[in-house]
């Protein structure tokens, strides 16, 4: 475990918040926002800053769905598995995505381009089935649209603004 007290760039991100436990989740969100995921090292740095055992921090990160302990793909696909989306066939869409990308939920493609996740509800139930790709919403989807969208992302290597 790296417990050196030497300053690192990550410490600046952490120090935006006061060193109290109540700010732990905000700190984790900030670090994940900056680096895409929470590495072992960053958890240790937060542990030093908050004077809180890293096991406690690990407990928090594994409790909440938002936190990732592995680096995600450059294009993060979150498909909604809410009730309205389920009724409108989001399970079939998820299967189609799995087949097309060749990965399971929670995995990243070998080239590091795509990662696939499910979310409980995106709150876009009126345009179900829906998914969010890098923060951008797509609604009223069907298998064909998914296929075209993924092909488009593959060709561009990113999500169009």
């Amino acid at each position: 475990m790296d417990t050196t007290l030497q300053k690192k760039p990550i410490d600046e991100v952490i120090a935006k918040h006061p060193p109290q436990r109540e700010h732990l989740i905000s700190i984790l969100q900030e670090v994940q926002g900056e680096y895409g995921y929470l590495s072992k090292d960053s958890i240790n740095r937060i542990s030093i800053y908050l004077k809180l055992p890293s096991s406690k921090i690990f407990g928090v990160t594994t409790f909440y769905n938002q936190f990732k302990l592995k680096a995600p793909g450059r294009i993060q696909i979150q498909i909604c598995r809410g009730t309205a989306c389920h009724v409108k066939g989001s399970l079939d869409l998820l299967d189609a995505l799995k087949t097309q990308l060749g990965i399971d939920v929670g995995e990243t493609t070998k080239d590091g381009l795509f990662s696939l996740e499910t979310v409980a509800c995106l709150g876009c139930c009126s345009i179900a089935p829906a998914m969010m790709v890098n923060g951008k919403f797509f609604g009223r989807l069907d298998k064909k649209m998914i296929e075209e969208l993924i092909d488009g992302f593959c060709a561009a290597g990113r999500v169009e603004e």
Binding site: F63, Y64, Q66, A84, V87, D92
Partner: protein, 607 residues
């Protein structure tokens, strides 16, 4: 100056409102017209998004639906150049204090809006949610002003008189909750607004936060003023980036206006507001779990009492109210308790916002007075079921709620009536299901959700829901998946214990999540027992949804041997020679349905 309003909530943006905005800007630039484009929240008629309102030369605001970027320019040409308003997609005109235009319908007379009463949603889709001036022009902050001039007891009495009950699902009287917090003596008290709208199938809180941000914050300030709190926290889920952005901006504006962090009003009320982002845990909608999360811990509930109004966040007296409750409070304080109490039924006053989704023609947000029937919501407002299918059930209250079948469609919407048919009001998600929805699959879906979201603290919820899920899973598994005959007997044995297990989970779980977790199973068992029996005894899914019980077959007479299905099959389960009929190898088939989708001769049948 020409004026245009575009609905730019999350649903509007997802259907292309951003492109419509650029099209309008382009149109204005090309014609050298000064154009004021105001982005609004969602008016609730999501099926018709993107929605654009155009203010005519005479100052009338006219709304158009399904505005694609290509039609936007055409509409503007028609309205401003040719002065013609009777276009495709015309929703109607707003009643904005002017004599209405002749021959143009009022938007409130549109079939979707006719039976609705816009109380808490009044500003959504109408005002610019980021402009405090616009909010003030629509009566904003008057409620706070009034509350500041009253004593705490008077404010609470007003809320109590209105009959407002918690809109997050529990239905606890808001006035009573505030009274308890007022009675707890402590110099530090908290107001928390629960915007962790985790119920899959509900999005009214998102819409209110995005469309009428200030009303929620004003409600929180009124609550703070009523119980003597000086700090407010709005706990918003991270999946709502637009709402978080708008709340952040609104808090900044309120600070700049001198309404926050400075003494205001005759009693020197001082209040600070901050936003706390949730991190994706359904159980954090439970109040004690939410507080644990705000304190930076795992969001696990704790037993009550002590109730939060006595010992809440950091052991200080705290009130936690839902977004819709807070927004209602600000309108009630402005317009008085009487007009609110005049709506609704004896025990449930006012209005309720429902997220009407699923297999329904007009999906969207509807606000209706309490006491309206489900039939009116689904058929009169929602326009019924699309594609001529038959109505099967409506699921109300999310994973804690229940399914209400056709014979109970005339149930009145209020807290007590819904309970009597085995459902709950919940946060107000209404998911409509048609004949193609399998009720066993629905129950299994909700349980898989609960097993993922159970925090793991108490055993009935952690282990019980998992076992219940396994039972449902074995019901939808084919005979071929059974490892031995003993497995098969075990399946029946489990089925026999399903109901008693559900009751144990309900009676012994620690928090609301576990206590209500078996509801989807109990309510579908109550009304759709025959569907369960078809799955258990016949191993058939009447709605053709449970993949394990389906069998895909190729009609050898219809098959032309084009080989398309064999090429597309992800598991190479289809065999056959070119130009000769193909066959599906059942053991290899994963029931993905690809062959049926690609077949051009409708030769693939499902049974």
């Amino acid at each position: 100056m020409s004026k245009v309003f575009i609905g730019m909530g999350t649903c509007g943006l997802a259907t292309g409102a951003g492109k419509v905005k650029s099209a309008v800007e382009k149109w204005a630039a090309a014609r050298n017209v000064a154009m004021e484009i105001t982005p609004t929240g969602c008016i609730g008629y999501c099926k018709a998004e993107p929605i654009m309102d155009v203010v005519t030369g005479s100052g009338h605001r006219v709304s158009f639906s399904n505005v694609t970027p290509d039609v936007a320019g055409f509409i503007l040409d028609e309205v401003f150049v040719r002065k013609n308003l009777k276009l495709d997609g015309l929703l109607g005109q707003f009643r904005n204090g002017k004599a209405p235009l002749p021959n143009i319908p009022l938007i409130e007379d549109h079939p979707y809006f006719r039976k609705q009463v816009k109380y808490v949603l009044r500003n959504c889709g109408v005002i610019d949610p980021e402009s405090i001036a616009d909010y003030r022009a629509h009566g904003g902050l008057k409620g706070l002003e009034r509350a500041l001039g009253m004593t705490s007891a008077e404010v609470i009495a007003e809320i109590t008189r209105s009959g407002l009950r918690g809109r997050g699902g529990g239905g606890f009287p808001a006035g009573k909750k505030w009274e308890l917090a007022l009675a707890s003596k402590n110099e530090k008290k908290y107001v928390i607004c629960n915007a962790d709208e985790g119920d899959p199938g509900a999005f009214m809180d998102r819409s209110i936060l995005e469309g009428d941000t200030y009303a929620v914050l004003e409600g929180m300030m009124i609550a703070g003023c009523a119980i003597g709190a000086n700090e407010g926290i709005i706990y918003c889920r991270a999946e709502y980036p637009l709402a978080i952005e708008r709340i952040g901006k609104a808090i900044g504006v309120l600070k700049a206006e001198g309404l926050l962090e400075k003494p205001i009003g005759p009693r020197g009320f001082q209040f600070a507001l901050r936003i706390k982002m949730g991190a994706g845990a359904f159980v954090c909608g439970e109040e004690t779990a939410l507080m644990a999360s705000v304190e930076g811990r795992r969001g696990m509930p704790r037993p009550r009492p002590p109730f939060p109004s006595v010992s809440g966040l950091f052991q200080k007296p705290t009130i936690i109210n839902n977004v819709e409750t807070m927004a209602n409070a600000s309108h009630i304080m402005r317009e008085g308790a009487e007009s609110y109490a005049a709506m609704g039924t004896q025990s449930s006053k006012g209005t309720k916002v429902f997220a009407l989704t699923g297999k329904v023609v007009n999906a969207g947000l509807v606000e209706v007075p309490m006491g309206i029937t489900l039939r009116e919501i689904v058929f009169d407002i929602g326009g019924g079921i699309p594609n001529g299918k038959a109505f099967k059930a409506v699921q109300i209250g999310g994973p804690s709620g229940g399914c209400i079948p056709a014979e109970h469609l005339d149930t009145k919407v209020d807290y007590e009536s819904l309970k009597s048919v085995g459902a709950i009001m919940g946060s107000g998600g209404l998911v409509v299901m048609d004949e193609d929805t399998c009720m066993v699959d629905m129950a299994r879906y909700f349980l898989s959700f609960i097993t993922n979201e159970s925090c793991g603290k108490c055993i009935p919820c952690r282990e019980g829901t998992q076992r219940l899920y396994e039972i449902l899973d074995s019901i939808v598994s084919p005979y071929s998946k059974m490892k031995s005959e003993e497995d098969n007997l075990l399946r029946f044995n489990r089925v026999l214990n399903m109901e008693s297990l559900a009751q144990v989970i309900r009676d012994t779980s620690l928090c609301g999540l576990g206590q209500t977790a078996p509801n989807p199973v109990l309510s579908t068992l109550r009304f759709f027992r025959s569907e369960y029996e078809a799955h258990i005894y016949d191993r058939k899914c009447p709605a053709h949804q449970c993949k394990g019980l389906l069998k895909y077959e190729i009609d050898t007479n219809a098959c032309t041997g084009c080989t398309l299905c064999a090429k597309k099959c992800p598991t190479q389960a289809i065999v056959g020679e070119k130009k000769k009929a193909h066959y599906i190898v059942d053991e290899k088939c994963i029931r993905c349905g690809t062959c049926r989708d690609v077949c051009r001769f409708s030769a693939v049948a499902v049974s």
